[in-house]
Subunit: 248 residues, 2 copies
Amino acid sequence: MSKYEDIATDIQGSILDGSLKAGDRLPTVVELCDLYGVSKITVRKAIDILAEQGLVSSRRGSGTYVKTTPEALGVESDLHAGDVLYTGRSDRSVGFTNEYALQDKKVSSDIIEFSIVVPPEQIAQRLDMGPDDFAYHDIRVRRLDDIPIVVENTYMPLELIPGLKRHHLEGSIYRYLTQDLGLHLSSFHRIIRAVPATLEEAQWLETEEGSPLLEIEQIGFVDTGLPFEYSISRNVGSRAELHNINIT
Amino acid sequence: MSKYEDIATDIQGSILDGSLKAGDRLPTVVELCDLYGVSKITVRKAIDILAEQGLVSSRRGSGTYVKTTPEALGVESDLHAGDVLYTGRSDRSVGFTNEYALQDKKVSSDIIEFSIVVPPEQIAQRLDMGPDDFAYHDIRVRRLDDIPIVVENTYMPLELIPGLKRHHLEGSIYRYLTQDLGLHLSSFHRIIRAVPATLEEAQWLETEEGSPLLEIEQIGFVDTGLPFEYSISRNVGSRAELHNINIT
DNA sequence: AAGTGGTCTAGACCACTTC
DNA sequence: AAGTGGTCTAGACCACTTC
């Protein structure tokens, strides 16, 4: 952990435990420099992190303030609460398994397909693969507490990811990529849509044909800039939602 | 424009015009310092911007690389291309009007409702309003080239936004807020869902009842940390999509 | 006029990759 | 061992807000 991460975590704690409340002004940048014994740029990076998390907003000449969010006010966070099981965060892409392993929810997968294929041309292009190159192809239905949430349709280039086996799919593929292969995932480019369920999808997801699904088309990149996965996932509309925060 | 913005724009230009290609390594940070005559931190901030835009990825000890995206490869960008009219970017929230005024598309609005009301309790809480406080309420159908894309349902606190009139809704509300009132918009918190169209929405949007809509529930904040709008918009699934980029 | 956040310098030191 | 990006210092100067 770097100094700026430590400082961000510390201030985040003060906001979450209520010692800093909605609308409060943080100590000035110079005061925070003294308080933590660091330089101005280090404090600025910490505040940048808090801003990205949606916790604070800075106003030049005036100060940095705790944002008046429903969370900071103690308002229950979701108007549509009830049957929504999956609330993914668009900013931290750590995969389905990791995001829910922490909570008390049971994560499971039905592997509908796992094979090595020559992918369709348009997908091969997105993965920067030659026309004859092979890729893994898998289709998985992911469940939380046994209720199906999403069907994921994924292609990964064979050359970048040697040795992927069926048992890796039971758990988290991302763990295999990072821990076993030592790859560093850097970013995901996503397109989000609302689409009607096909009959087949409706059966997999235990919902109605034509019912709204939240589609996420995604290309994942490693830190050399190469794509390592192309994926289209379709989430049951009434069981999943995506949260994100945009700084202007 | 700050120095780091100038540098980011310059390198972005090199990537977009093809002088830097997918997979290429950028000059090292030290080389870029010499090239632009700036300090290391300034170059780092420029590269951070390019990373947020999804253009480059840095690898400690190795270098910074142009990402192998479909755009950098010259692949047409959308598999579902054809009838999708609205491709919003989740990272830059400048409002519907601004995002399309630049292009050759005609933006228009049907104002279905515009009034001053006491908002429902749950919405008042999200806007940090007292139970008796008033808010503007408007419902607008936004069209591109006369085709309805989205119905927006928005509440804005009266006290924060004096003098809002019907004619502001014909164009861009955001322009009124920033240019006339001098407010600085800082961030948006969003929840994205797929929902079925009600009969009323289907009529407004010229689509079928029950057809998938992409819902965006949004709270907007100004730079003092106060919420200035609560909005639920519902986009026709087959005519809109949301793009975003996530850095891990 | 005084106080605030934002940018920037000219370095230093470190973690990691490459050879 | 040499080269790369990432963090950090101790300041300086500036834009903007507050009084």
